[in-house]
């Protein structure tokens, strides 16, 4: 073997330095995914209450999401993706545990995952090799994160990027019991507070602080996190996220659950009136289990909701541009989804409803995989419970046997139109008893079967062909006996099986 002389050494050294310099300036996406020995990062964005039905990305009439469309050009876009729940607690718990609500049992408002199952979560499964960060601006989602506290390296409190807040629980350690006592009871808004003296002081102080906070860019007042005393500007939240992501140490798993576009729909001034069309959605009949909010009001609310979605989309675009520009998203899976949708039709406003029509169950799902350069569209039905096993598989982690979902197409799985998926609404049941009053939607192929249990004297079914009836206006029950019989039997069997496991 020839010995390396001084000239050879200098040549090798200069080549090495040159190679290092070149790699520094090549865009991250070009290189990402090439180094197989390095664990990939996972960045999950959850936009609370973002219905896929209101996103131009999925063909909505109003151009609400130009930036998500830009993001979609290098991502897998799931067109028939549903959340397993229709409000925050079940929707979030299903995302984080990979189980249906009838299994994890976070079925009530502000509910929690069954205590015997709380070690079944994405943070534990990614393991200590990962730096695990979680932030839920929605307090109910933060309750669930609190259950997984031992498995998360850093939890940012719901008020992390707010302008004004008077949350007590997070400041006293953030355990579910502390939250429950202070923010859900002693100082709770919406009902008379259980604390007589301190709550009054707290409320007067909060009001004064909000009144003194400049909010010129919000004509309608600062956005607020539901009934909780957290006031924020969307821009500040995204600035905070950018800083947080910049500071993450690879490999990381970051779960970022953002309140907007949840109601109250308060976009910044720039987005008020961006949709000046006089477009009106299809008029749908009110449902007997829903409410009777006038259609005119719903149309107005829909416009506000669309404006807020456009605002969220713009902020997301800004965040992505900044992070990509700094080369911070190399070797990173980026997931964009929601915990549930929003219903602004059939006399119903919001998502606290027994109804499971598409606007409340169909949510966006986009996954930008390592080094992905082209858009990939998936049209087969998928469910939020599939995200956990798919991400574990993609990151090379062990997928547990108890995981109910299969891999998502493009993430290790194949498009399967015959696979059945479910969405469950059961907030009026005890978390530790068999479900007696609930709504279950089952998706198979292009069909959707909805089962209403315990609301009326007799249980009821509705059947829709989503391919030919996008707006769910024609109930096919019982007109398609062949389809109905097999779907009905499968749904009832799944429901009965789930009802056998009912301890907290």
């Amino acid at each position: 073997m020839r010995e390396i002389n001084r000239r050879d050494f200098l040549k090798l050294a200069s080549m090495g330095a040159g190679a290092a310099a070149i790699t520094r300036f090549i865009p991250g996406t070009w290189l990402s995914g090439q180094s197989e020995s390095v664990l990939p990062n996972v960045l999950i964005f959850v936009f609370d209450a973002m219905s896929a039905r209101n996103l131009s990305l999925y063909g909505y009439h109003r151009h609400t999401t130009p930036n998500l469309e830009r993001f979609a050009e290098r991502a897998i876009v799931y067109h028939q993706h549903r959340s397993a729940g229709n409000f925050t607690s079940p929707g979030t718990a299903s995302l984080l545990t990979g189980m249906y609500p009838w299994t994890h049992r976070a079925i009530n408002q502000a509910g929690l995952v069954a205590r015997r199952l709380q070690d079944r979560n994405i943070f534990r499964l990614f393991g200590r090799e990962y730096h695990r960060l979680a932030y839920a601006q929605n307090v109910w989602a933060d309750f669930i994160l609190g259950q997984f506290k031992a498995e998360i390296d850093r939890i940012l409190p719901p008020h992390a990027f707010s302008l004004v807040d008077s949350m007590i629980g997070a400041r006293l350690g953030g355990s579910p019991a502390v939250y429950r006592a202070f923010d859900e009871f002693l100082f709770k808004d919406g009902t008379p507070p259980a604390s007589l003296v301190f709550s009054l002081v707290d409320r007067v102080q909060t009001h004064r602080r909000v009144a003194r906070t400049p909010s010129k860019d919000y004509y309608e007042g600062l956005p607020r996190v539901g009934d909780y005393p957290i006031f924020f500007k969307l821009r500040d939240v995204y600035d905070g996220l950018i800083e947080t992501i910049e500071a993450l140490t690879a490999p990381y798993l970051a779960y970022l659950h953002l309140w907007s576009p949840h109601d109250p729909y308060k976009p910044s001034n720039v987005f008020i009136g961006v949709f000046t069309d006089h477009w009106r959605p299809a008029i749908k009949p009110n449902h007997r289990l829903g409410t009777d909010i006038p259609n005119g009001r719903l149309i107005g609310k829909r416009k506000n909701y669309d404006e807020l979605i456009a605002n969220v989309d713009a902020e997301f675009g800004r965040l992505m541009d900044e992070l990509v520009g700094k080369g911070l998203l190399q070797n990173t899976y980026i997931v964009v989804t929601s915990d549930h949708g929003e219903l602004l039709e059939r006399g119903v406003e919001g998502h606290i409803t027994p109804l499971l029509y598409e606007p409340v169950t169909q949510v966006p799902l986009l996954i930008s995989t390592l080094g992905q350069q082209k858009r990939q569209d998936v049209h087969s039905p998928t469910n939020s419970i599939q995200l956990l096993p798919s991400l574990l598989h993609a990151a090379g982690r062990t997928v547990p046997e108890w995981s109910a979902g299969e891999y998502l197409p493009g993430m290790g799985g194949e498009e399967d139109y015959e696979r059945s998926t479910f969405a469950v609404e059961a907030k009026d049941n005890r978390a530790y008893s068999p479900l007696k009053k609930a709504t279950v939607a089952m998706y198979k192929g292009t069909y959707k079967l909805i089962y209403y249990i315990g609301y009326e004297k007799e249980d009821a079914f509705e059947l829709y062909d989503l391919e030919n009836d996008y707006e769910e206006l024609t109930d096919l029950y019982p007109a398609r006996p062949a389809v109905l019989k097999s779907m009905q039997a499968e749904l009832l069997e799944a429901f009965e099986t789930a009802n056998k496991m009912t301890t907290l």
Partner: protein, 177 residues
Amino acid sequence: LAIFSRIPRWEKIASVYAVIVLMIYGWTILWFFWKLPSWLYFLTVWEILSALSFSLATNFVESLLVLSALLLACIILPRKWFYDVFVARGCALAISSLGYMMLLANQFQLKMDYPGVWLAWTPAVLAIIVLISVIVSSVPFMRKALEALADRLTVFLFISLPLSVFAVISAAFQLLS
């Protein structure tokens, strides 16, 4: 110190404190029972008791603060104004001011529903509260009634004090663990 001579005897303090406890703890317990059916849907008994312990610990601090305010008034004000009629005047003040707070809490359900009218009238309401307290405790029949009521309510302290101590210890343990 002369200041200690202005502090009423512990029996008198206990009587007034019992009235404060009844109102502050009573309010919380009332809403606890209103909330309980919903909590029973998804919380374990231990989790509910844990939330209750934080609530009672908070009540304990609140009640001591209200009592301290009355004791401070007793020390500062001339003897005849407060010290000599501590039980009756203290009870009248506690009942009327905490009653006003209950009214405000009912009006003031959302932090943004600022009851401007109610709070704007607070100085006037406070003046009325003081006036009522003075009048009530000056009329012999009413004064005796208040003293008798307060005396009978002291029985609640045998329940509330051990419970509060337990709640404070439990809350501290939970916060520190």
